[in-house]
Amino acid sequence: MVVTEAETRAVAERAAARRPFWTIRRRDYLVGYLFITPQLAGSVVFVLLPLVLVGWYSMQEWNVLAGTFEFTGAENYAKLAADANLRSVLAATGIFSAGLVALNLTLALLLAILLNQRLRGTTLFRTLFFSPVLVSLVAWTIVWKFLLQAEGGINGVLGAAGIDGPNWLRGEATAMLSVIVVQVIKNVGLNMVLFLAALQGVPAQLYEAAKMDGAGAWTRFRRITVPLISPTILLTSIITVVGSLQVFAQIAVLTQGGPGTSTTVLIYYLYQQAFQFHHFGYGATISVLLFLIVAALTLLQWRLRRKWVFNEA
């Protein structure tokens, strides 16, 4: 049924004639506001208000058990700046995030390219690579904790190859490496699927044409694939970077931030200070730092988008 604009307008006018105040447009306003009310109210109460409060609490000495607040101004920030752990916490956060993002994106792209070949059975492999995403996070981490023990399965396999494996979760460097790898294997399937969809959107003629012009596989990848999937690379890197700053359960289960503070990333430090030592004001101060880092990274990535992304999808 074809509706002309005149007909629509006629319907609207008739409705308007019947209801002088509640025109279609006004009713639309009302419906619009009603529809967004739950989400908007939720955002104000559970996102914006706490964000303001976290800034306010960061300037308090706050005793939860006694329920007392004392305004201390920038004292918590001075304490943070002088915190002997801050340097190692930031270093651990940086190493963890950088390692995670680099390994995750590289592996995701590699797997996506492998699965994008014309092969039978790629659906099965896609499911297998994706399956850890669907395994309960703590269950997955517990299994890896067992496998990574000194006498665990990983060292068993290494031993069979004649290599004497370390006690993975007890050495500083190997603990960090373990946490990164366990997390990458868990979640790389998500980025893999996004890359796969992007790769399937690259027109095959481009490759044919480049081949005829004598471009090798690497050149084709560099000059065709990467530019055309750059929006997806940006999207996945944003998701992965911000996600890496939220990794908590894996660290809590695998290493509890140790050995020493070698895997104490910012979010875990925040949890320790606020909820284990009950330094809530100081916890709020660390939250502010975490927020600033996330905000800075997000802004940076959106700026890069303009420079680097080939086409806006």
Binding site: I36, F46, V47, S136, A274
Partner: protein, 272 residues
């Protein structure tokens, strides 16, 4: 060439598949076999005693129910909130729309961990710590649902406007148009939102350990880490049995539904 590719894929698969396989098979091995080397792919003797112990050591059935009902309520609630808000932001014109959308979108930029301290204080003041309320209300209305709203909006924007005009001429109001025309078409996006939300709630760990202190209120991720012996050492066979019960049903359901899931994911991802 093809053979080499298959070989490469098979090798790469091992770290993705083996842990799950090992978790399931070891949960029915006696303790001595779990620790045995080299690890056996299948149990030599089947031993289901750890499955009984899971329920003896903790109120595991109750904890399972907690996780299940919380995830179900959060999923249903998020779908409703996100579909309504996403539809309004995409298809209805009203004053202040863009500003309000930006206000909502801030939730995407703020990881919920940043606000855990003030949220804890809010719920503490209301006397709602050590209840399930924070685990239900915050995900439905707060930062976690914003991504869902964003996905729904992106989907509704792509719907052709003529459909709605036709519905309106046929006498449907705004809500009727939304509920009878737009929503059924949005099934793929809703499916993706549902799966994301369910997994997010099912895996939530920081929030439960912050808010809950009574074992009968625990959710599964929290309960899994509590299977320890008198000396605080993990009871591996019991932990693996509990982990299997936590992970396997969800894994099976989602692998069966994976086509919709992966395709929905790819679509929303591309458009997001």
């Amino acid at each position: 060439m093809k053979l080499a590719l298959y070989a490469l894929l098979c090798v790469l698969c091992v770290p993705f598949v083996f842990p799950t396989w090992w978790m399931v098979t070891s949960s029915v091995k006696p303790m001595s076999e779990i620790l045995a080397f080299p690890p056996k792919l299948l149990p030599q003797t089947w031993d289901f005693s750890s499955y009984r112990q899971v329920f003896e050591i903790q109120p595991f059935a109750q904890q399972y129910f907690n996780s299940l009902y919380i995830a179900a309520v959060v999923t249903a609630g998020t779908m409703a909130v996100a579909a309504l808000a996403g539809y309004a932001f995409a298809r209805i014109r009203f004053p202040g729309q863009n500003v309000l959308f930006v206000v909502v979108l801030t939730g995407l930029l703020i990881p919920s961990e940043v606000t855990i301290v003030p949220l804890f204080q809010m719920f503490h003041t209301l006397g709602l710590t050590n209840t399930h309320w924070p685990l239900i209300v915050v995900p439905i209305l707060g930062a976690p649902s914003v991504l869902a709203t964003f996905i729904m909006r992106q989907f509704f924007i792509s719907l052709p406007g003529e459909l709605e005009e036709a519905a309106r001429v046929d006498g449907l109001g705004r809500f009727g148009t939304f509920y009878r025309v737009a929503l059924p078409l949005a099934r793929p996006a809703l499916g993706a939102v549902a799966i994301f939300t369910f997994l997010h709630s099912w895996n939530l760990y920081l929030e439960p350990i912050v808010y809950l202190s009574s074992p009968e209120l625990f959710t599964l991720p929290q309960a899994l880490t509590q299977f320890v012996d008198l000396y605080g050492g993990p009871m591996w066979n019991v932990q693996l049995a509990a982990a299997t019960m936590t992970a396997l049903p969800i894994l099976v359901v989602f692998v069966l539904a994976q086509r919709q899931f992966i395709e929905g994911l790819a679509h929303t991802g591309l458009k997001g």
